[in-house]
């Protein structure tokens, strides 16, 4: 079990969830078990992810419109991710409130 409790990103929507990392693919229907990792932090992408369990991106900031949408959906979410290498299919605990991702 590998754990990463260092600073990982900026919380734009608080909350905690356990799920599987999924690299974002357009058109896929994600569920509450999926923590979706997006390369681009755009409203057009986030607006379609209402049912995701968590959202992550190395891009974006607290006032981006995409962040505003994530907050309205109440999905735990970190943006501006740094120093975290995540793999598609990895099981993780995302605690957006404490800004940590723990690989399970």
């Amino acid at each position: 079990m590998k754990s990463n409790n260092g600073p990982t990103g900026i919380c734009v929507s608080s909350g905690e969830t356990i799920g599987t990392i999924r690299f974002y693919k357009k058109g896929v229907a994600y569920t509450k078990q999926d923590i979706v990792l997006l390369n681009e932090w755009l409203t057009s992408g986030v607006a379609l992810l209402k049912n995701a369990g968590g959202l992550l991106s190395s891009r974006g900031g607290i006032t981006c419109h995409a962040s505003i949408i994530a907050r309205e959906y109440r999905i735990p979410c970190l943006v501006g991710l740094k120093g975290v290498e995540l793999k598609d299919g990895q099981k993780v605990r995302l605690n957006a409130t404490s800004e940590t991702i723990t690989i399970l």
Partner: protein, 327 residues
């Protein structure tokens, strides 16, 4: 120095020779670079170096910028906002996001009164758009509608810098202040409250968020940048005061951490300004796009059809020529 002297001087400096400052409040992809030049002992800032405004855009924007300066700094008569010959917008420190934030933190009451005035203007604009819905595409009213939308822009942009420029900096600095005294958990359970409002909720419900998202890929800005959107008179009334469940806990925690009196005063200013500022910023983006820009787009297409020029050609001709053509 006159306005023309400043324009000439800034325009003569090549962009690659200007000082570039990186700001933290916006991520790189949203342009976190600010250009800085020193003219006659005064610093001038270009906070959106990727936006080039055409003469046509400036005919809509220049007067409101002047009016904002007069409203905020009635004692200063030298120009504080200009467009250079490239179309870049420049502000003196007082009218930059940093200067405005400093000013409003000291006078949060002035921020609230400015935003209240803007709210009144926004409601009038929305009502006017609704009232004129039936005659918006009537060629008999083309000149009148064009004059009216020009006036709407003038009113809507009366607090342009205070609404659009200031917000990212204000939110970022408030969060920084909270981080200085509180745990991450306390900050993250409190701060997101400030960035939520009725306009976003309603826009999500009605599907307008996805519509507006179509603009994300546009690299240029201008008064016609949202002309592809369906014109809408969409509005959600902002709440002047907002209350959050954990306000009391946060204040107690700040006091327990022995927050400096000066910082507590700054906290109170942010606490008062940010929730309203957020809602105004969100609301303004819907009015600016589906409200004003999309309605102006309809008119420009109609003028193009009537005169035989393309919309691009009309823009290049400029506002006085369009007014003349409509007469």
């Amino acid at each position: 120095m006159t306005r023309q002297d400043i324009i000439k001087k800034i325009s003569s400096i090549p962009v690659e020779k200007m000082v570039v400052v990186q700001v933290q409040c916006r991520p790189a992809e949203k342009s976190n670079q600010v250009l800085v030049v020193n003219i006659d002992g005064k610093k001038w800032f270009c906070e959106r170096p990727k936006y080039f405004w055409s003469n046509f855009d400036r005919a809509f924007l220049e007067k409101p910028y002047l009016s904002e300066q007069k409203l905020l700094y009635p004692g200063i008569h030298e120009p504080m906002t200009i467009f250079d010959k490239r179309g870049l917008l420049w502000s003196r420190e007082e009218m930059s996001s940093f200067g405005l934030l400093k000013y409003f933190l000291e006078h949060p009451n002035l921020y609230l009164s400015a935003m209240a005035e803007h709210t009144y203007d926004a409601q009038n604009i929305i009502q006017q758009l609704k009232d004129r819905k039936k005659i918006w595409q009537n060629t008999d009213y083309l000149a009148e509608n064009f004059r009216i939308i020009h006036e709407m822009y003038a009113r809507f942009y009366r607090f342009q810098s205070s609404i659009f420029m200031l917000f990212d900096e204000m939110a970022y600095r408030f969060r920084e202040l909270l981080i200085k005294y509180l745990t991450k958990e306390e900050v993250n359970l409190y701060f997101p409250n400030f960035l939520s409002g009725e306009a976003t909720k309603l826009a999500l419900l009605k599907g307008y968020v996805a519509e507006r998202a179509a603009l994300e890929y546009q690299t240029t800005r201008g008064v016609l940048y949202a002309m592809s959107l369906k014109p809408r008179a969409f509005y959600a009334k902002p709440q002047f005061f907002s209350f959050y469940e954990n306000d009391g806990e946060i204040v107690l925690s700040l006091l327990a951490k022995k927050i400096l009196s000066k910082d507590l005063q700054i906290f109170m200013s942010y606490r008062m300004m940010l929730p309203f500022g957020y809602q105004i910023n969100e609301e303004a983006q819907y009015i600016e796009t589906a409200g004003l820009s999309a309605h102006l787009g309809v008119l420009m297409k109609m003028i193009a059809k009537k005169t035989g020029y393309s919309v691009d050609q009309l823009q290049a001709k400029g506002m006085p020529a369009i007014v003349k053509l409509l007469k």
